[in-house]
């Protein structure tokens, strides 16, 4: 049985797809058979972040509607043979996803894979609810910013009431906080919520802290999940996150301002890597 992990946030633009791509890739690099599913019907983007946009033939909606098999729709990742991508469709029909259809796809995938990562759309509408409904664990992606924190709290409400685990009175979904775009300099200046504040307000366990990093845009430009950039701060922070998801105890990094040496400052060019 695969473990189903939803990457969700409520608010858009906080780094859900970046995180889903990095986490799925990291799990696969660690030897787990992993599939990552884009639930953002109508606005698919995971394929771009994963660098497989030109290889999309069939998608999740085709599978649910019986127009293609899972094997036809899944794209094998170029860099890791353990990793598959199931893209979302570009159709605008919001009702294309059904609860029964999603359940069938997840059950079929569950037999073959160790991890199923569900990349949720923004919002709290149907697509987001379907993405989290069957989850065993949730990664709640949050920026250190008021609207993102509030929306994350709304999502926590949904996770605890509108999921299959909640409705069947089973153990609740395991909730993990992933703070992204964290800028220790601004935290030091008192102009950004610090990690402790966010943890205290949302009251869930931290699984990772991703610093604001130039590596993230560089990675999405190239269609290579940022976790492959193992020299970058963001890449390393995602690798730590994956270790924690796999149950390892890894010390937290990138929480405070990184001091750069004089030489690095003179010749380092465009900021931290």
């Amino acid at each position: 049985m695969a473990k189903i992990i939803v990457v969700t946030s409520g608010k858009g633009g906080v780094g859900k797809t970046t995180s889903a791509a990095a986490i799925a890739t990291g799990l696969a690099l660690r030897g787990n058979k992993t599939v990552v599913i884009d639930f953002d019907v109508g606005l698919r983007n995971l394929d771009l972040i994963m660098g497989c946009e030109r290889r999309v033939v069939y998608d999740l909606v085709n599978v649910i509607q019986g127009e293609a098999g899972l094997k036809q729709a899944m794209i094998r990742d170029k860099r890791s043979e353990n990793l598959h991508i199931l893209p979302a469709s570009q159709t605008r029909d919001k009702d294309a996803l059904t609860l029964e259809g999603v359940e069938k796809v997840l059950m079929d995938l569950s037999e073959e894979f160790d991890y199923i990562i569900c990349d949720s759309p923004a919002g709290i509408e149907r697509g987001a609810q379907l993405a989290l409904y069957f989850a065993d664990e949730a990664v709640v992606v949050t920026n250190p910013e008021v609207s993102s924190v509030r929306d994350s709290d709304r999502i926590l409400g949904l996770l605890s009431s509108k999921s299959r685990r909640a409705e069947q009175n089973r153990d609740p979904i395991k909730e993990h906080l992933l703070v992204t775009r964290y800028n220790p300099n601004r935290v030091d200046d008192g102009d950004m919520l610090n990690l402790e504040d966010i943890r205290e307000i949302l009251a869930i366990d931290l699984v990772g802290l991703i610093p604001e990093s130039e590596a993230v845009l560089r990675a999405s430009n190239q269609g290579v999940p940022v976790i492959h950039d193992d020299k970058s701060d963001a890449g390393q922070a995602y690798a730590d996150t994956v270790s924690r998801l796999m149950g390892e105890d890894v010390p937290l990094r990138f929480q405070s301002v990184q001091k750069r040496g004089l030489i690095a400052r003179m010749f380092g060019g465009g900021g931290r890597r």
Partner: protein, 89 residues
């Protein structure tokens, strides 16, 4: 005053303002967690009915639903203004 605060280095940092605002709004959201979907409408309509008779503010009304094992209690608290401030004398 702002200048004085600035000179004394006591300007309130924006992050702590954010934290206070979030604590309030999140506590409010959690109070509504798990309640039936009709609650906001019910609250709004009850407020309208009460306002037909008494002048009350939006925040003067407090409604909550508590569930025990076999029964639910809908609790409604309205802070009434001083006498004489009714809408229809």
């Amino acid at each position: 005053m702002r200048l004085l605060d600035f000179l004394k280095g006591e300007r309130k940092k924006s992050a702590s303002v954010a934290k206070e605002r979030l604590q309030i709004i999140v506590a409010h959201q959690r109070g509504h967690r798990g309640q039936p979907d009709y609650m906001p409408m019910l609250e709004q309509e009850l407020l309208e009915v009460i306002r037909r008779y008494v002048k009350v503010d939006q925040d003067a009304i407090n409604i909550s639903l508590d569930s025990d094992n076999d029964c639910s209690v809908l609790e409604l608290n309205v802070t009434l203004p001083n006498e004489g401030e009714t809408v229809k004398g």
